[in-house]
């Protein structure tokens, strides 16, 4: 099977999955959720007002039609208007994506570099003191709730010590830089434990392979063995873990954005939840699912690029 037909098959399989995602959203928001009339009109609305609202929102049509509205929006990105702000949701997302990416982009790069470097370091010195210390530090880090990290970090480093900006945002580079430094540092701390441990296991899986023994028998030094032979082989699972993070980048950071008053998609989602803004939550759910599916395919294709064994299949 060549790569094109493989990609094509993967793309085709996203269709039933996308229909499934839309089905879940439909069931949640159109069947299970309380009647939006209560949210939008309050308790004292008349039946006429309610009927009129149902008509405006298209809730008086058949379920099939309502379902396909959701399916349609996942292709057209026309998610309608926010109930709370009355803005076009597509425009809202476009405006929020920039600020979100200005935190998640640097965070993505920095946290992965930190995690991979640390993992290589501890894998290189496996069993030694530094490995054990890092193990304790990373499990410890994983055990602190992230909200506590954000709260404490903002309070202590931002408010108490005054080292960083704690609130606000300025669009465009380099204006945003001062506002994102602290969130990036805090989230690197939040994520490094789990990532480092995962990468370490992945690398150690390779360290005991036969080809490493061959490399040693050639007279190569440990650094070359680690960085050339081992790293390229561990790249496959590492790459998967990295690529699969990308769609979460556009979701923004729920806590950090609202705490640091950054007008990104994370803040937008939280506002939507606080305001019971169904269309926005729906849109964010569809968008993130689309991102996950797309990057799932990209991961699989990336596999074949790193691993020659996959190339011919």
């Amino acid at each position: 099977m060549n790569i094109y037909s493989y990609v094509l098959r993967r793309l085709l399989y996203t269709i039933p999955v996308l229909l499934g995602v839309c089905l879940i959203i439909f069931v949640l928001f159109n069947l299970v959720a309380p009647d939006p009339a209560f949210i939008l009109l309050g308790k004292h609305a008349t039946q006429i007002q309610i009927d009129q609202l149902h008509h405006e929102l298209g809730l008086d049509r058949s379920f099939i039609v309502q379902y396909f509205d959701i399916v349609k929006s996942s292709f057209t990105f026309d998610f309608g208007y926010s109930w709370a702000t009355k803005q076009n949701i597509y425009e809202m997302i476009k405006n929020g994506a920039g600020p979100s990416l200005s935190i998640t982009g640097p965070l993505f790069i920095i946290s992965n570099i930190v995690a991979i470097s640390l993992a290589l370091l501890v894998a290189f010195y496996r069993g030694k003191l530094i490995d054990k210390v890092m193990l304790i530090v990373s499990i410890g880090g994983m055990s602190i709730p992230s909200l506590a990290v954000v709260l404490f970090g903002q309070y202590y480093f931002g408010y108490k010590l005054g080292w960083f900006e704690i609130s606000g945002y300025e669009r465009g580079f380099p204006g945003f830089v001062p506002y994102v430094i602290l969130p990036v540092i805090l989230y690197t701390f939040i994520s490094f434990g789990a990532d480092t441990r995962f990468y370490r296991t992945v690398i150690l899986d390779e360290v005991y392979q036969d080809y490493v023994r061959t490399a040693r028998s050639k007279g190569l030094n440990e650094m070359v063995i680690m960085f050339k032979h081992v790293l390229k082989n561990s790249m496959i699972p590492i790459l998967t873990n990295i690529i699969i993070q990308i769609p979460t980048l556009i979701l923004g950071l729920l806590f950090a954005e609202s705490f640091f008053s950054i007008p990104g998609l994370g803040s937008m989602t939280i506002n939507a939840i606080n305001n019971s803004d169904f269309p926005v939550i729906k849109a964010m759910t569809i968008l993130s699912a689309l991102g996950f599916m797309l990057f799932g395919i990209i991961t699989d294709v990336a596999y074949t690029m790193v691993d020659p064994r996959m190339r011919l299949k």
């Binding site: 036969d210 080809y211 061959t214 050639k218 007279g219 190569l220 032979h229 082989n233 020659p308």
Partner: protein, 331 residues
């Protein structure tokens, strides 16, 4: 007399485990000569692979270490050699091939890349294009058809036999003085086995290196080796030139190994009536008996073997270069 290139003296390799230290290799002696092949025979766990790794300086430390003894390569001690200096010898002067050709090559680099890597490391005077040319030459030398095409391929595109040829090409590309082959044919089909052994013999003639062939297969030994050492529980129990050993095995264990070969009897040429096996099991290294390690499986066992005379030591039997560690040698 040919030139002695490697001398192993009283080598002891220890491994620390949860249940205490064990001597995987316990007082081993042998010499390797230029252009000659030494066979080291033994069952799995007898310490033959550990001996090979000790020569390569690749004993995983911890938990393992060379506890005592000497390994002299052209008169220079390899034990406790500075790691950088050892790396210059490894892959260059002493090379090794392994039992698992399927997994011994790195799956994500091309064959050519993996051969060139060792050339680049040890033959620094060659340019990139010379290295590439040499990689092709090496593949041709080990009998891989259309080597120009093969250098660009990845290990998974080759069969097991072909991969072992590539391993040999890597090992020989710096024209080493010694090639250590640890069960090089065990994982291969019988016909391929013969081809690989034939290839090693041919290349030995061309390049004049000494070979240490580690195997559990006496048939392989008979075909390829000049001298043989038989290992049991980390010790050499018998050593001799190949003819003497096959014609007059002195240690009951050696005899037992020969009787368990399913083939024609090497002395008479008749098909043996029945396949024989050695009774019992190899004792655990944690729990070796006093005296001879083979006592519980030996038909000729006497009180001497049970520790009253101490441990048996390797000493000359009848022939000049025929040594055996046994209180009641055969013949």
């Amino acid at each position: 007399m040919t030139e002695k290139i490697l001398e192993v003296k009283d080598l002891v390799v220890e491994f620390r485990t949860d249940r205490g230290a064990v001597k995987a290799v316990n007082g081993v002696n042998f010499d390797v000569f230029k252009g000659k092949t030494l066979g080291i025979v033994g069952e799995s766990g007898s310490g033959k692979s550990v001996t090979a790794l000790a020569i390569m300086g690749l004993i995983p430390n911890p938990p393992g270490r060379v506890a005592s003894g000497q390994i002299l390569f052209n008169g220079k001690s390899l034990v406790n050699m500075e790691p950088g200096e050892m790396r210059k010898i490894r892959g260059n002067k002493i090379a090794m091939i392994f039992q698992e050709p399927m997994t011994s090559l790195n799956p994500v680099f091309t064959i050519g890349n993996q051969i060139e890597e060792v050339i680049e490391l040890h033959q620094t005077h060659l340019s990139a294009s010379e290295r590439a040319a040499k990689a092709v030459d090496m593949l041709r030398l080990v009998g891989i058809p259309s080597p120009e095409k093969r250098v660009k391929e990845y290990p998974h595109q080759l069969s097991g036999g072909m991969r072992q040829r590539v391993m040999i090409a890597i090992a020989l590309s710096c024209e080493p003085d010694i090639l250590i082959a640890d069960e090089p044919t065990t994982a291969l089909d019988v016909t391929i086995q013969a081809q690989i052994l034939e290839l090693m013999k041919k290349l030995q003639k061309e390049l004049g290196m000494g070979i240490i062939l580690i195997t559990h297969d006496l048939g392989v030994v008979a075909e390829t080796c000049d001298t043989v050492s038989v290992m049991y529980c980390g010790q050499i129990v018998e050593s001799a030139d190949v003819k003497t050993l096959f014609n007059h095995p002195a240690h009951p264990y050696t005899k037992g190994l020969m009787d368990s070969i399913p083939s024609f009897d090497s002395t008479s040429g008749h098909r043996k009536e029945r396949l024989q096996t050695i009774e019992g099991m190899v004792p655990s290294l944690f729990n070796l008996p006093k005296g001879c390690n083979f006592q519980d499986r030996c038909s000729k066992v006497t009180d001497d073997c049970r520790g009253s005379q101490g441990d048996p030591v390797l000493k000359p039997s009848k022939g000049v270069d025929h040594n055996v560690a046994c209180f009641n040698p055969l013949n």
